[in-house]
């Protein structure tokens, strides 16, 4: 771990120097660009996708329901959310153990948005040396023009990002109408600005400093890695001793390795580390150094891959095994959880029932010798079509169900409360008794859901 530098305190507002990573081209650069297009394409387009007259993916927080294509989730489905979180945590362990920080280099929002902001910076301020020169130069109309162009792009893109983000939680088409009519709600406005500002700050300014100093994932790397984990590494045995040489010189005779010490791998690194010093937690596995080094190797007519995807085991000359206890156990667990999740969602009852006791009275004695308990039955229809249900009581035979109607009619996605009473002849039972209210399909008679409660007698 980095020892903190001498200046403790006061440094928070000190001007920070920037990283000026050199631009790079190559196979992995292309792959990363493809990943960025795919992921950001999904992010910006998914909210606009429609599914049977509504937004296909909408986490409708105000209405407390999530729509994901044909599925609708309600707070009653809380259990699926926790299940998903467990799957997410386990995937993290699994993919990190197998593929290292592939996530960081290719999929983390931090990296992906940073790439876009860096691209906009390049577009307006030029390449690495042009940017360094521009920053050192005194203010001039040209500098002002370039810097403002960059800010216009950044702020515009950040606002679009914030807007899209909110569009996952509040219908995006209506959001756009109100944005143009300047009638956005206060919280919508706030969250658009908040998320937009977070994107602007994190991707425009903090960049890989987030990975280096703030992200917990980066620090757990050593706990999740093993010798078989895919990492980006420099082949020390092949590269050392490093040293400058002429293009056609017989460097082997001089006792030199393949590394020509051009330091390009360091210049392209967005976190500013030297991969030749070995695996470091700062490395976000962006593969920029691979591309840079392969370029050099090609120019020198040396074989590629002095820096490459490899594993600790392979570097030590041992075989790499993808199948090993750690990956197999994680993999089986993960697969089991995912299959279970899909099965559980598919088998999810389309109806949810909650029986809420009247809070005001334990029981009520009517004039005609009956004792009653009062309930509200809350029924949710999670189905995509309307449903007709029959409500029945399961419990001691002394009890009977009294309601205006026991035939319940619910539209698709509707949540409705029905008042019901359960009663018995006075004195038939004493104390508390478990009861269940069951909803059956009126058409098929199939039991769809049940809700539990208690009947209290004097």
């Amino acid at each position: 771990m980095n020892a903190p530098s001498g200046d403790v305190g006061g440094g928070l507002y000190a001007a920070q120097q920037k990283v000026y990573p050199r631009e790079v081209t190559g196979r992995f650069r292309t792959l990363r660009t493809a990943a960025i297009f795919a992921l950001l394409g999904l992010f910006y387009l998914v909210p606009w996708t429609q599914w049977s007259a509504r937004q296909a993916v909408l986490f409708d927080l105000p209405a407390r329901r999530f729509y994901i294509f044909s599925l609708t989730f309600f707070p009653q489905d809380f259990f699926f959310l926790t299940w998903l979180l467990i799957i997410a945590a386990l995937s993290l362990f699994f993919f990190t153990a197998v593929a290292g920080r592939l996530w960081c280099g290719f999929a983390c929002p931090q990296t992906v948005w940073t790439e876009v902001f860096v691209w906009m910076e390049r577009l307006t301020e030029g390449n690495r040396s042009q940017r360094m020169k521009l920053d050192k130069a005194p203010w001039s109309p040209r500098k002002l023009g370039r810097k403002s162009a960059k800010q216009v792009l950044w702020v515009g893109f950040a606002m679009l990002t914030g807007f899209t983000f909110v569009g996952f939680f509040s219908p995006i088409r209506e959001l756009m109408t109100s944005a143009f009519a300047l009638s956005l709600g206060p919280w919508e406005t706030f969250w658009i600005l908040f998320y937009g500002f977070a994107a602007y700050g994190n991707a425009g300014y903090l960049r890989e400093q987030v990975c280096k100093y703030m992200c917990p994932y980066a620090r757990f790397q050593s706990a999740m890695f093993d010798k078989q984990t895919l990492i980006i590494s420099y082949d020390t045995a092949r590269g050392e001793p490093r040293g400058a040489r002429g293009r056609d010189s017989d460097y082997k005779a001089k006792g030199l390795g393949d590394c020509i010490d051009c330091t390009l791998c360091v210049q392209v690194c967005p976190t500013g580390i030297d991969i030749r010093k070995g695996l470091q937690y700062e490395c976000i596995a962006c593969a920029a150094c691979i591309d840079a080094c392969n370029d050099v190797m090609t120019k020198m007519s040396y074989p590629k891959g002095l820096i490459r995807y490899s594993t600790q085991a392979a570097l030590e000359g041992k075989p790499t095994r993808i199948l090993r206890p750690r990956s197999v156990v994680y993999g089986i667990l993960l697969l089991g959880l995912m299959v279970g999740f899909v099965v559980a969602v598919a088998a999810r009852s389309p109806i949810g029932i909650e029986v809420l006791r009247d809070r005001n009275a334990l029981y009520r004695e009517t004039g005609e010798g009956w004792v009653e308990n009062v309930y509200t039955v809350r029924v949710v229809n999670k189905d995509a079509g309307p449903r007709r249900l029959l409500l029945t009581l399961e419990g001691p035979k002394e009890l009977s169900l009294e309601a205006e109607t026991t035939e319940l009619q619910l539209e698709a996605g509707e949540v409705k409360g029905f008042p019901v009473r359960i009663r018995m002849r006075a004195g038939a039972l004493r104390g508390g008794h478990e009861i269940e209210l069951e909803a059956k399909s009126l058409e098929t008679g199939k039991k769809l859901a049940r809700g539990e409660s208690r009947f209290i007698a004097p």
């Binding site: 903190p4 006061g10 000190a14 920070q16 927080l61 407390r64 360094m132 100093y213 703030m214 330091t263």
Partner: protein
């Protein structure tokens, strides 16, 4: 252009590292807390009478205020933890 350390940013100061780490990890923790809490509880039913305080008047307000509340509480815990870990208790006695 050489790759000397001069054109690299200096490492963050300790204070900056602490603030960065605490703000970011408490943000992640608050996201999780808010998600689980509001999946289980509806802001509109949290108030027990007909005259709810302003932060429970609408769901969006409830969620938003709740999220910042969680963030704040998590950040307090984070700052206290980092302060405790950095101020070495008993360093004099153990001589380390």
């Amino acid at each position: 252009m050489s790759a000397s350390d001069a054109d690299r940013p200096p490492p963050w100061s300790r204070l900056r590292q602490d603030v960065g780490a605490v703000v970011w990890s408490s943000f992640l923790a608050a996201c999780l807390a808010a998600m689980l809490f509001f999946a289980a509880f509806d802001p509109l039913t949290l108030a027990s009478d007909d005259n709810p305080p302003w932060w429970l008047e609408s769901r969006m307000t409830g969620y938003s205020v709740g999220f910042f509340f969680f963030w704040f509480v998590c950040a307090v815990a984070g700052f206290l933890t980092s302060a405790l870990l950095h101020s070495s208790a008993g360093a004099g006695q153990r001589g380390d």
